[in-house]
């Protein structure tokens, strides 16, 4: 009987082809619109997270807890080379970089701006961040020169300071003893990440140069950044390092940048909310259609109840019919989305013409839609659920019929 219910339901939806096409198209377009938008949003956030991890925060960072709270240079981590040695030996670690950091002023003849001066060991830094890849041809080099006091700055800062390659920039900051210190640096490279705010706020110099100016004790640093071979291992590796280095603050990227983590975890939740609203609207359209169907088939439904079809079977038949409208529309919507995300996931959607605002927020100017299998599973469940819920009202209407009256109507 299950087969015959399905069979009748399937044939019934093609009785009025135009009406069914309209409902199925509405479900298809609604689902595709919702899924594609969510895919774009998810792709943007994944890109934002990837970019942030590889150009800024890395997977794990270690600090002196007081440095995180105050950003004052005297709060260093001691014996940092020994700390690094103990971390490098861990299996999932693919890069470690120690940094010295000081908040100060970057000034040219025309302007001065507040920046974070980051002292790095270029070869080690290359294993953790990809800033060296963000220097386009013609925009200089990433610390190739062996000479002292070279600086790599962001494109946006260069514009604001009116600085070019080989321009001199004076950095001033407070040293380890609390005195004002500074020096002149020559621009060796100009980078451009997809986050223009980051480019404006951060400058890179060699750690050896900055350590001298800050008068830091030997073998100290403010930050140790760690990159892993797999983002999924972040929590477990962070726990191991926390155990290994109990005196300093060990944080993973979700703790370092909670906003980034929020954006990441919100996408799946947003998908559910977004799709629920769309399916709710489509559910009303389906209910309306099915009510018309029940009204049109009063006599037929009365007859099948008269000859012995019980309420459960009537419910099952109408439920199948309602669900099939949602399922067929849903299948087409998902198919369109799969094609869309596959195509644009590879070639990307270029929004560079309107991308300035996005870049300031750290998003790329080319969007790559991403949807995981579980996202499709969630939507399939939602479609089935909508079909089931939408079938209840028309079925109640059908079950209220009295066979004797319905067959006479």
């Amino acid at each position: 009987m299950k087969f015959i219910n399905f069979n009748i339901a399937w044939r019934n939806i093609w009785r009025n082809k135009l009406r069914s096409y309209v409902v199925i198209s509405a479900v298809t377009v609604g689902l595709f619109g919702g899924l594609a938008s969510t895919g774009i949003m998810k792709g943007m956030v994944i890109d934002l997270v990837e970019s942030a991890i590889h150009s800024q925060v890395s997977h794990i960072q270690i600090h002196n807890e007081k440095f995180v709270a105050n950003n004052e240079v005297q709060y260093v981590m001691l014996n940092s080379s020994q700390l690094i040695d103990s971390i490098v030996s861990k299996p999932d670690v693919i890069g470690v970089s120690e940094r010295t950091m000081a908040f100060g002023m970057a000034s040219t003849a025309s302007k001065g701006l507040g920046v974070m001066v980051i002292g790095i060991e270029p070869d080690n830094e290359k294993t953790v961040t990809n800033i060296f890849e963000k220097i386009k041809d013609g925009n200089g080099e990433y610390f190739k020169s062996k000479k002292r006091n070279r600086i790599v700055i962001g494109e946006k800062l260069a514009k604001k300071l009116n600085a070019k390659l080989k321009s001199k920039i004076v950095l001033t900051f407070q040293d380890y003893e609390g005195n004002l210190s500074g020096a002149s640096f020559k621009v060796e490279g100009i980078f451009k990440t997809q986050n223009t705010t980051f480019d404006e706020m951060n400058v890179f110099v060699k750690k050896t140069d900055l350590d001298k100016l800050l008068l830091l004790p030997n073998n100290t640093s403010h930050e140790i950044a760690i990159l892993l071979d797999d983002e999924k291992k972040t929590k477990s590796t962070a726990a191991i390092i926390k155990h290994l280095i109990p005196n300093y603050l060990v944080e993973d990227w979700t703790e370092i940048d909670p906003y980034l983590n929020l954006s990441y975890s919100m996408t799946s939740f947003m998908l559910l909310i977004f799709m629920s609203i769309i399916m709710l609207a489509l559910g009303f359209a389906i209910v309306n259609t099915m009510l018309m169907v029940v009204l049109e088939r009063t006599k037929e439904l009365g007859m099948i109840m008269a000859i012995g079809m019980n309420r459960f079977r009537v419910f099952s038949m109408i439920m199948w019919e309602t669900s099939l409208l949602a399922i067929v529309g849903g299948a087409f919507g998902i198919l369109l989305t799969v094609i869309f995300t596959w195509h644009f996931g590879n070639v990307g959607i270029d929004i560079s013409s309107v991308g300035d605002g996005f870049e300031a927020m750290g998003y790329g100017s080319v969007l790559y839609p991403v949807l995981d299998f579980i996202d499709y599973v969630e939507v399939v469940i939602l479609v089935m659920f909508t079909g089931l819920i939408a079938s209840i009202f028309p079925t109640i209407r059908a079950l209220k019929m009295k066979p004797a009256e319905a067959t006479r109507s």
């Binding site: 009748i8 000859i307 012995g308 006479r408």
Partner: protein
């Protein structure tokens, strides 16, 4: 002869309108196995109401309908549906076939509801289609059949589950003379040869002429019960 259906002081009063309507007013009847009976009378006399009460499509205000020692007026709606499914065949005025199913699928619909096996269905439907003369029309949908052919499929559907009796409400009302004669010939043949009980509600003289028993109704009461 075995009694297949019996009514005892059956009443059906409609109170939905301002004026109380006594559609069936104290009818006591019994039908024996193998009867070919017609319930006749003017419009509004209570023919269809009585037929609906006999078939359990409607419940009486008072009185009983006893089928096979079961008072169906006391059954819950769920049990009544099952009872109808297994004991009563219905033929409606407007055929009421399911338009998306083929003739064969329509005929075996009740057997499907009864969860009969495919082999059993195939055998029974082939037998019935031959008996009612619509062999070769198995895979045609109702919209492509004539009115007479559709009503024959409806008869096949009613007979498929081997019910205790068939209730037919104005089965010839939408048929032309030829189709009516052919349909009545088939029903009468089934009645004569297989002792299938038919109870009609009709005002068609051709049906009345072929009936073995004619029950006249007026104002919800039996005015005459004539066995030919």
């Amino acid at each position: 002869m075995k009694t297949v259906i019996e009514t005892i002081d059956l009443h059906k009063t409609y109170t939905e309108t301002e004026v109380e309507v006594k559609a069936v007013n104290g009818i006591s009847l019994s039908f024996q196995e193998g009867e070919f009976a017609a319930i006749v009378g003017p419009s509004g006399c209570g023919k269809t109401t009585l037929l609906n009460l006999l078939g359990g499509l409607d419940g009486p205000t008072s009185g009983s309908v006893i089928i096979d020692n079961t008072d169906i007026s006391t059954l819950s709606s769920r049990k009544l549906i099952d009872f109808r499914l297994n004991n009563i065949g219905f033929v409606f005025q407007a055929y009421n076939l399911i338009p998306v199913l083929t003739a064969k699928e329509n005929a075996e619909f009740i057997m499907n509801l009864q969860n009969k096996s495919k082999a059993e269905r195939e055998t029974r439907i082939a037998e019935l289609f031959k008996a009612i003369g619509i062999e070769g029309k198995e895979n045609i949908r109702p919209s492509r059949l004539s009115g007479g052919q559709q009503q024959r499929v409806a008869v096949a559907r009613a007979l498929a589950s081997k019910p205790k009796f068939i209730l037919a409400d104005e089965p010839t009302a939408n048929l032309d003379s030829k189709a009516t004669t052919e349909l009545l010939d088939i029903m009468r043949k089934l009645n004569d040869e297989e002792k299938i009980t038919f109870i009609f509600a009709t005002h068609d003289q051709r049906v009345i002429d072929r009936a073995k028993r004619v029950i006249y109704l007026d104002d919800g009461k039996v005015t005459k019960d004539k066995v030919k």
